[in-house]
Symmetry: C2
């Protein structure tokens, strides 16, 4: 698919994903949001709570650091415990260090006051942000994310991640949302491959995908046309239907 939309990557950080303990869902959620808001997601990477892996990925992805993509979103590893090393690693990747952010401290203090708890040293850890970063609001549990360069650092807890995405995305300069049409055929992928390839050749500006599945009625295939221009997508889908006699 031809697109001049900003490109993006997602970096998911957490041993619990790699061990199979947790099924990751934040990347899928953000992928849907990015498609709908005009960002072109090119890569998702999942790494351990490992300093070198995180630094390496941030530098490989963030254009501000010579990386491959316009924007980088991270999920996970910004909590209060010893294995939450994302903030340190992202700061290091950007050649800076962490400081207690006073706005973040105030938000955490206000939450502690409401809950009748103390802002302990461990809780205060969550007020750390790189020098020169700006905060990402956390409406759920106060501890903020942050943006530095083109890297946007968010929490791993799904409710908090979604809240941060809701806050952040409308504040970024997006592109044209992806338009897509899907049709399900009760035929195997092999049976539609040739026709689909022919149509793909006629519409080089679009993306035509075929996704086989197997359900209680046997094999079928979802045919998906994607592109930035709704009229072109509709025209291509008409061509698919005509050619496949649907």
């Amino acid at each position: 698919m031809q697109s001049t939309n900003p490109t993006a990557a997602i970096l998911v950080i957490g041993d619990e994903i790699l061990s199979g303990r947790t099924r990751e869902g934040n990347a899928h959620h953000l992928a849907k949001v990015l498609s709908a808001t005009g960002f072109d997601l090119r890569e998702i990477r999942v790494v351990a709570d490992d300093h070198a892996q995180i630094v390496g990925a941030v530098q490989a992805f963030d254009k501000a650091l010579g990386g491959a993509y316009d924007l980088l979103f991270t999920s996970g590893g910004i909590g209060p415990t010893h294995d939450d090393i994302t903030a340190d690693a992202v700061a290091a990747a950007h050649g800076t260090t962490l400081e207690i952010n006073e706005t973040a401290r105030a938000a955490l203090q206000a939450r502690c006051d409401r809950m009748g708890t103390e802002l302990t040293p461990n809780r205060l850890r969550m007020a750390r942000a790189p020098v020169g970063s700006t905060l990402i609001d956390n409406a759920v549990s106060a501890a903020p994310g942050f943006s530095i360069g083109n890297t946007h650092v968010m929490a791993g807890v799904p409710e908090v991640f979604r809240g941060m995405v809701d806050w952040l995305i409308p504040r970024l300069p997006g592109g044209r949302p992806v338009q897509s049409l899907t049709i399900e055929v009760r035929r195997g992928e092999s049976d539609v491959a040739e026709d689909l390839q022919a149509i793909a050749g006629e519409f080089p500006d679009l993306s035509l995908g075929s996704y086989p599945f197997n359900d209680d009625q046997g094999w079928g295939t979802n045919l998906v046309v994607r592109g930035l221009d709704a009229d072109r997508v509709a025209t291509a889908m008409d061509a698919v239907k005509q050619r496949l006699k649907l």
Copy 2:
């Protein structure tokens, strides 16, 4: 966690994941299997149906090509359509080309005979495998995966992927399965951080993780101890319980 187990990466290939259309589940399934069979999964990467991205990832991961990990497993992009380019890209990464594999052709022919269909050129595409590769059995739909170097190429359709994993994993030299114990506490992660860090210091051979969640009873945290030695894991969990008075 200290481990001498073989290291592994998973490469998921497919535009439909990055567009948010499909929620990926194969990596999570394989992550659980790898933990249980003694492989140390270090990284998951999701890329588009893009030749350069696939070649780059295979070369970055497969130790046989100077990459970072002992084993690489891929999912997706080996179907019959124009956007299924995984086999070509993996062959290129390994410096070889594709050929029609006669064993694969025979399996596909037998399936077509059973179903009363023809082995069309598109279906025959699924019999292509790199010169020098060995096949991975597909009990579900006949079209096989393949192994070349330390790269193991499997289908993206979940039922087929699982079948290939079931066939392949017992044939690989594994290590010691990871042992893990979990306890749920109805306390915030901040409240257990200090105690957990102290215990982690006493058990440098283990991995201690804390995973906050938010349900209808409010915030809680799952504490997880992981390691290769079941006795050590149990001893560390006892220490967690004692220290947190559980």
